[in-house]
Subunit: 336 residues, 4 copies
């Protein structure tokens, strides 16, 4: 059960609601976000919402039978829009394009990608400065120094940036020098990190785990939301299966199903999804028709020289072609 | 190695080629299909194709390193077209639509579906008269009696039919009263059935196994082709994964990858793929963008009364809408 | 619902029972096996068994909520024993050992294995004369000629044989010249083959499918049992997963769970299960502790020269060691 | 390549080795652990180890082709023993038993488990004070306060404790008040946490990820080892598959394969592995035969009242029986 509390609820009224809900056999958790204060009741007893609905301090009340509550579309029918400022938004019906290299490598590389994006009207650049790598001996990213240089150039170009956060201690810097914080597949169920991200006022994009279920992904979003941060996006990036013909099994089924289960925007990552350059384009276009609210893909001036993910990174010509086709496909989708 | 033999090769020349290829350390298999005679050489030794290319009786010669040979696109670059007669073809670049109920249930049902397809310009009807069912106590289909009635009506409507073959003894009737024989996921590696289908001159559509790899699917096609039947289609119908939010994991990654590996048409089955009615449309449209040569989906006048697969079957209104959107999406794809 | 009918039930009584059960909203199927006649009622309505229990012709009656009925342990608590004659039995509490080559290759090979088994007190030899192979160009077995030679030698040694059946047309010969018919993983859901095996009076061992669920395996057994053949064994042989460090993921979890769900004997196949010679011994011993009723493994005088499965086949020294350790482990298990 | 450096290597010699290895086209990383200093060279060029072997400061040198190096058994043939003090060791050939509740709940519960373990001669108690939970609204553990009470009682009983670490900030307390730090499946690839654990002198047990490959698990161990901490154990706890008859697919194949790949002890967790109380015993006994160096399982005085994992937790009677059978099985294994 989700109880939305009124803006200026009195302490006494709040206590009364708690007592009442506890008395009905429900465990209560209070949630205060950028937008609102909520009281979450967890329990299984049958109850008559009217008993609660009339209490002072209750703005609205909803039953949600899913294990996740605040991220459910059963409660909040209106889709969430992520507003990055300067007119850059990610919202249902529209289609956000995010592109850039796997890793931030150098100032020269940053500028070349920004120029490419600018020329193609793309407003959000991706790139990693903290890189989760399977081997401890591999390149782990330029860190905060690289981030600052990147952010400065991006601002000059009027382009927003999305980058991965790997641990709580990085959050402060990332909040200063980026626009969206991404939680990678390997940290999908790093609950302490999710708790910490609940405390900031910055959009967070959660990638599905390596073999994450859709319910788990939604519960992870519930961690951040119930921690206080409503600015959330979800990302399908391929799951692990027995098939070895591609890097991951990009699971487009997830897209329409997540769109029905949650009010949060759903982004497709075909680069990690299928993991092979030649097939990024068809999978990206397919994700539009599957109903995605946006796409994130990897591009680099010279993919063959990229520090990481070379095999799944598009060159700028491929990227430009993809962007044009994405827009035409989105236009067709809007016409339906 | 694939050696295409000349049309009227002499027995002596044939023997000489065999001896030569065996002498090079390769095991030989002769293949004669509707179109051509081939000699397949299996082995790993390095060889100079020029040694063989000049021999009398050799029309052409190709190295193919994959485990499958005759179905590989490395050898036959030109895509295979399946010609069902009366101008109905399945071919690359175009997009075939096949639709109909899971099971053939009654004459009334047959006619209602044929009228729906006719009204929407669909030329191929699907339906099962032999039904593989998990439980021995479930409805197993109307058998050959249902097939004959169906075929007769379909001919009157000028519509072709595709239906499942479960065992060799059914092939004779199915060849008489249908246009495409489908091998289901559970029989994907029923090698004796594949052998038997190699001996007929009728198109065969092979579905990927429940957890079939793409290489296994191509090897299964190789069984039929090397048995003598080149008229083959492949079908992606979802694989098994840990995710329980949908019936199967419809694997759109398979489509662009199969298109690159083989010259055979690749069909998408979103009904079995995701297995939930509400999501058949987005997944069908996505399959167009992924590069499929056609789609097969389930429709019924009253899905809730269907004998099987009710939960994934579209009603006629949904089906008509999907067909229109499919055509618009194919048009966009052609414009790229 | 399972109704066991009395031995000499009158036709009138049988009809009355049918009518009564149908009248309760249950679909009926009659099953007559080597042992007994049954009437299976499929339906979901609540009912009072006492209404049926007193009818003439009803020997016993059981509710079974599983999708499978006759193979369920909820109905038949006493475990099934497979009696191969000459004192060779497969039964709960005891532990049957079956061993032999992947493929039957030659008379010499047959005799060498028989001698090895005889020397180690093993009473059942495995081997394939019909081989399901991924590639149509691979060795497909010696067929019935090989089978006859094998069976003749095996009888001289007093050893029983188990071999794979791939299609219905092979059943007649296999019933004459073998003691157990095995259905391989790829034919696990070849329902027509299962139907045909229901009609013979010969033990059948069903392997779990490549990605078969335990419920599917039990339903496949239900096919054979409801076809009339109660002489069934189940076999765990590894499932398909994402892990590439071994051939299959030998799933020992299946063993105690199947033992609880069904009264049929459960056999472990560690050779296919893990697929790597060095690990067959630990996995075979583990299967004893997991509760298996027997094991089937591959052995050959010269594994490196075997026509198939060389990488998972034990030599005779390894086989002898394994057999000794298996017996010691079974002894310990019996002492618990 | 792994170069073991001599204890008192001179700075100049160290520099010379670096230069030499870099000059051969290898990237170098220095590793200093509790035991030794190493220089890891990552590269693919062919080289003659004798060029390096004679240099001052080189104690030993090994080629290791795996992606993981220091945890490989190709380099360190002698198995690693984890010494917890007071004669409690985890080592190959022997078999360590760790048992206790899922969550630490209360002082009374702590003492009841310690008494049970003491009575059964078990030297290591498991239990969680920081609990990773799918839902943010579930019980998350007693934290450091619970840990201190637990540790104090455990010391009085002479019993060591193993407990989960979820984030770097917990490490300091956990090092003071526990004997082994466990990294859970969801943090398996939390690389920053692994880095931090590399810096402490305390044994760490790494659980395989939800769908972790064995190579990934070994690379995660390499993170900790290359961070400076050689005191590592690995734990198989079940992987995710399509099968729904059990909670996880306990993957006993992992045990003999890990034992061959690495010198680290390998522990089996049948409680999470199969996740159902009735089957914990057979899977635990099977893990002995598969070659595990120890087992960790869940027990509680009143499993039905446990705060978490009730369905997979043994009561004390079941636990005592299991411990006796484990010891008998280990004795048999030693006799082989």
């Amino acid at each position: 059960m989700i109880i939305q509390l009124t803006k200026n609820i009195k302490a006494d009224d709040r206590n009364l609601i708690h007592e009442k809900v506890n008395g009905l056999g429900y465990k209560t958790t209070e949630v205060t976000t950028q937008n609102c204060a909520y009281l979450i009741g967890i329990g299984k007893k049958e109850l008559d919402l009217r008993e609660l609905g009339g209490m002072p301090g209750v703005a609205d009340i909803h039953k949600v039978s899913d294990a996740y509550k605040l991220v459910s579309r059963k409660w909040k029918v209106h889709p969430t829009t992520i507003d990055l400022g300067d007119g850059v938004k990610i919202s249902e019906g529209d289609f956000a394009i995010m592109a850039g290299p796997c890793s931030i490598e150098s100032e020269e590389q940053i500028v070349s990608v920004l120029e490419h994006l600018k020329a193609n009207g793309v407003k959000i650049m991706r790139g990693g400065v903290y890189k989760p790598r399977s081997s401890p001996y591999a390149f782990r990213g330029l860190g905060v120094d690289g981030l600052k240089i990147w952010y400065q150039h991006a601002q000059e170009f009027g382009i927003k940036i999305i980058t991965e956060v790997m641990q709580s201690s990085q959050i402060e810097d990332l909040c200063k020098y980026s626009d969206i914080l991404q939680v990678g597949a390997r940290n999908s169920q790093n609950f302490n990190l999710l708790d910490a991200l609940g405390e900031v006022d910055k959009p967070v994009m959660l990638k599905r785990g390596i073999s994450g279920s859709l319910d788990e992904l939604l519960q992870c979003a519930e961690y951040v939301f119930s921690g206080g941060n409503e600015k959330l996006l979800l990302c399908e990036r391929g799951i692990r299966s027995y098939e070895t013909a591609y890097r991951n099994t990009f699971d487009l089924n997830a897209i329409p199903i997540l769109k029905e289960k949650t009010h949060l925007p759903v982004i497709a990552d075909p680069s990690h999804g299928i993991g092979l350059r030649a097939y990024v384009e068809p999978m990206a276009l397919a994700s539009v028709m599957a109903g995605a609210d946006g796409v994130i893909f990897e591009t680099h001036a010279h993919p063959e020289k990229a520090f990481s993910d070379a095999q799944q990174t598009l060159n700028f010509a491929e990227s430009s072609t993809l962007i044009k086709k994405l827009r035409a496909t989105v236009d067709l989708r809007k016409s339906f």
